[in-house]
Symmetry: C2
Subunit: 338 residues, 2 copies
């Protein structure tokens, strides 16, 4: 039982729930022998969907929760009111130690609120950041924080740097993660009050490899592994990165389909282009972990299909096996310079 | 003389100075009959470069300034010390009314500092924003502020909205510019303290067409004409947009050159793709105006070539002919709700 990792999966959250969610989680089950799944959701759709697959039933449990939190509901109120929703039920199982991780493609706000209010923070963690992986020209970088923690303080950013560094090292496998703080210039004298106050703290911080400031234009080139910023800026980076990529690729595709000549050209370049673009498909990197909680919460895109769900569940197994929360606790309590 | 627009040009600033700067400005001279140019820079390189061209000498003046402010010099100190640099000399001419506008591809910090310290703000303007145009799927949007005004207050953002709206209407020609504020969700209850405090002020603001919040992912699609944000966020948006575009296009180009097959395909799609990408080439939109000063200061990219310089100089002519500063003064003094 001790090496077994129990991942609770919100079967009702996301645009393609429950179909793609269940499909992806069962693919992870097949890939990871040490995995046990707990599907949480409304009985009928859940059972109907599970019927379609063959799987090792001894490693799959179902928990029924008949309420569903909508994408537009005010998160905190929804968490408090809908005690029998998949998100609240899953978070409570995490809190009681009945699951090691919880994966949801549901409302980001509700997942963030539930993580804080139900699961609760590890001792010493001031704020739990949401930390998605973003694809870059060199691989992948962790953008920390993209959560709901707006108006952060310097000490929060230092904790983000520590937690992000541990994550990139032990879950993603980067030997010596380069930690940088987002700034409006490479020079330290630039920046807003938050960044200027945080830089000396990061320099004095032991156990991380702080490389200085990163300008936003260098992020897509993979100039750092852990990109530290407060949540408003992180959210802008995450969404602008997605928006710019999707808009440009849409324009390129439109161009390729614009005439017979370009269509002929498109046929020739398609296989190679597809391979290149696959590197920038975030679905293969799994979801965004919410770090610093008593159990692991992973938020996957609302538009996720099976592949992203599969990778997110597998990510939970790595996280748990690496005893990530013990590592985070020991680093956080290692003393942050004032 | 009254319909004549006098544009002072920093011949020494930028990666391709003085060659491309002078070339671009002289192209503008040919295109705009009401334009007079004042080139400011070191005598030798300036005269050597001007010799290469034929132009209407009655409309071109030279002012020699032997000092140059480097890209890495601390801006405020450089402005104070190097009284005989092209930036300081140009700004002083603007201040004394000897020029209507000043264009520079030099150090952004020095241009911003000089604008504030030498040219000075229009009465009532709290902070002069730097407002570049960014190319979108629908045309172009004004990103205001990308300057040095970090840690802004709500009243600053309201002034940015007003000035940006006037600029898009009278210089770019958008009839009823849609003004939106950058936020981490479309809902008004989201956001940091600054955004939450600014939203009701923008709603109450007369003379602008405020459409609400804009998420970063919608910016590249052209979802608003005037994108209001504080400078740190604006700088991140501007640079990430450039970085993501250039990185993706580099990857696409690498793919097109990766095999004989893709090279053949590339030949077929090249003309159409080039046309599409031209829409996203910011050099055709001119430089970033610094608004709210007693004279117009335009900052062009350090990497600008003749085309961007040409458009920036022409932009100065439009700005001046539209009596933009009178319009800004009257809107700013029209009373901002508290």
């Amino acid at each position: 039982m001790s090496t077994n990792v129990r991942v609770a999966v919100d079967a009702m959250g996301g645009d393609y729930a429950p179909g793609e969610i269940i499909k992806g989680a069962l693919q992870a089950l097949e890939a990871e022998q040490s995995l046990t799944l707990i599907f949480i959701g409304r009985q009928k759709p859940l059972e109907n969907e599970l019927k379609k697959y063959q799987y090792d039933a001894s490693r799959v449990q179902t928990v029924f929760a008949e309420e569903v939190i909508g994408m537009s509901e005010p998160p905190v109120a929804a968490i408090r009111k809908k005690k029998n929703s998949s998100i609240v039920v899953g978070m409570n199982m995490l809190k009681r130690g009945e699951a090691d991780a919880f994966v949801s493609a549901g409302s980001t706000g509700a997942v963030l609120a539930g993580g804080q209010l139900i699961v609760g923070r590890l001792k010493g963690v001031e704020r739990p950041p949401l930390a998605p992986l973003i694809p870059t020209a060199k691989g992948v970088s962790l953008l920390i924080d993209c959560g709901a923690n707006v108006d952060a303080r310097p000490s929060h950013l230092v904790q983000f740097a520590k937690m992000g560094s541990i994550y990139m090292k032990h879950v993603v496998g980067v030997k010596k993660p380069r930690v940088a703080i987002v700034n409006i210039g490479a020079e330290e004298e630039k920046g807003n009050a938050l960044v200027k106050e945080t830089i000396p703290l990061l320099k004095a911080c032991t156990g991380i490899h702080f490389t200085g400031c990163i300008e936003a234009r260098d992020i897509p080139y993979g100039a750092a592994d852990v990109i530290v910023c407060e949540a408003f800026v992180g959210n802008v980076i995450l969404k602008l990165f997605e928006g710019t990529s999707s808009m440009l690729l849409r324009e390129v595709k439109k161009t390729l389909m614009s005439s017979l000549r370009t269509k002929a050209g498109a046929l020739l370049i398609k296989p190679a282009l597809k391979k290149t673009l696959k590197n920038f498909d975030s679905s293969q990197y799994g979801g965004a972990p919410m770090l610093g909680l008593k159990g692991l919460v992973v938020k996957v895109h609302g538009s996720s299909k099976a592949l992203e769900v599969k990778h997110s569940v597998i990510q939970c197994v790595h996280f748990s096996k690496q005893k990530m929360n013990e590592k985070i606790s020991s680093q956080i309590s290692a003393g942050t310079p004032e």
